[in-house]
């Protein structure tokens, strides 16, 4: 049985880690791109990125000053019991975000959208943003994503409806155009991970785009060959534009492209696009029913399948 203080401890740990440490798969992506880039400037961008990443981890400093939106993806194991029930989980999230801000691991970034005033602790209406996914297990898995403003805000048009008359060409064109709108001038801090949602309601589509951008490791391919093929086509296309790191020219505008899709209404298909910045910040922890806390290298969000509500 888990209690609030244990949950809070684990979540604080994973929030801090997310702000400070870049995941191994992302570091490997930087290293491999340095080898493959030809332009001196593109190499300089990536080398300085890596130097900064290593320094942040060694000194336990946020790797980007913009620690952005606190987002939590939570797989709720059905065999876990929590003292006080599931409401305690939500409370632990809010307290952990407050504490991480107080300790200086999260910058005070969240504000009221109208008054622009801040609660000074990054907690407010609907924030931290939490997504839950129930599944069969004796643990809770929490992935913390600290998501910067550039990658989240600077795609000109992140969604549109594509009709039967537009076909697959309409889907591809929208993905390419909206990705480019964010990548140029380095607005979304490339090389990015591009997440794409196809189908579902407008909100589900955008959620899938975000999950695809932030939860799948770099190099991962969708299990269905037709979707994996589309991922590769878009990836190759975006990396042949010459946009390069931080939009300054070079080979790599994106580290990877991930697509998730949902069944849609026969009348039309919503397409959604979301970016993760070069400093793909995510960290995952499992909290077992017996109280063990275990750091994980990668989120297992999609491992339990794609059929259920996700």
């Amino acid at each position: 049985m888990l209690d609030e203080s244990l949950l809070e401890e684990a979540i604080l740990r994973v929030l801090q880690k997310s702000a400070i440490e870049i995941p191994e798969d992302v570091k490997r992506a930087f290293e491999s791109c340095i080898q493959k880039e030809e332009s001196e400037l593109a190499k300089l961008h990536l080398r300085k990125f890596l130097e900064s990443i290593n320094f942040a981890a060694a000194r336990k400093i946020p790797v980007c000053p913009d620690t952005g939106w606190p987002i939590l993806f939570v797989k709720l194991g059905s065999q876990v019991t929590i003292r006080g029930g599931y409401l305690v989980v939500e409370k632990a999230f809010r307290e952990a975000v407050k504490k991480a801000t107080e300790l200086g691991f999260l910058r005070v970034t969240m504000v009221d959208p109208i008054s622009r005033k801040s609660s000074v602790n990054n907690v407010g209406n609907y924030i931290p943003y939490v997504e839950y996914k129930p599944f069969f297990a004796d643990y809770i898995e929490v992935t913390a994503v600290t998501k910067g403003g550039g990658s989240e805000l600077f795609i000109l048009q992140p969604t549109r409806v594509v009709l039967l008359a537009d076909g697959i060409i309409g889907i591809k064109k929208f993905i390419i155009d909206s990705a480019i709108s964010g990548l140029i001038d380095g607005k979304t801090c490339p090389p990015n991970v591009l997440g794409i949602g196809i189908g579902g309601t407008t909100d589900l589509c955008m959620r899938l785009a975000k999950q695809a951008a932030v939860l799948r490791p770099i190099g991962d391919r969708h299990p269905e060959p037709r979707i994996a093929g589309l991922e590769e086509d878009i990836l190759n296309a975006l990396n042949s534009l010459g946009i390069g790191p931080m939009g300054c020219g070079g080979k790599f505008a994106v580290f990877d492209v991930h697509i998730e899709y949902a069944y849609t209404h026969t009348a039309g298909t919503v397409i959604g696009v979301n970016m993760q910045c070069a400093l793909c910040r995510r960290a995952t922890v499992r909290i077992y029913d017996d109280g063990t806390i275990e750091d994980r290298k990668l989120p297992s969000w999609f491992e339990s399948g794609r059929n259920e509500r996700s």
Binding site: L44, P65, G247
Partner: protein
Amino acid sequence: MKEVKLTTPVSLEDVQELELGDVVYLNGLVFTCRGLFQKKIVEEGLPPPIDTHKINVMIHMGPVVRKIDQKFVIVSMAPTTSNRYEKWGSKIIRKLGIKVIVGKGTMGSATAKAMKKFGCVHLTSVGILGPILPLSAKVREVHWYELGPLEAVWVLEVKDLGPFLVDIDTEGNSYFKKVNEIVKIKRGEIYKKLGILENFKYQSL
């Protein structure tokens, strides 16, 4: 890549010598600001809290600062998206006599025009170097702290702060425009590869 060291106050000749794509390191006193500072200067007509003709390098940036033993120490800092401030860019250059603006990404045509007229350049971020940039900076003064630590004006003494890339020169030319012209041509090529016809139009409703 040519490397250049600039020291404040930066002269007109200093910036006129800079070329697109040069890699710049900054020395001397510089100041930070975000949107609220620029709004107050341009729209509310407030005088700046510092002599911007001497401290004439302005960085679009909100640092993460901790107070240790009564002293402000910067934990993390990196330039933020400059295009957000395009509305005020040209007036800030004219009014404050700024010679160098540092930020992430670039600025628009109105600011580029002012850069040509008054002799100013824009430098863009190389990577995102939040943790390592503070190693080259010490806090000297803070003004308008009531705006909050992010929006406040921090005067920093910097030693080889960088690297930054010259992306708008004193002729108003833009580095990103050149990159984006190539992108435009290649975009046509990938459309072809993906089977997107030139005259493709979405069905309107």
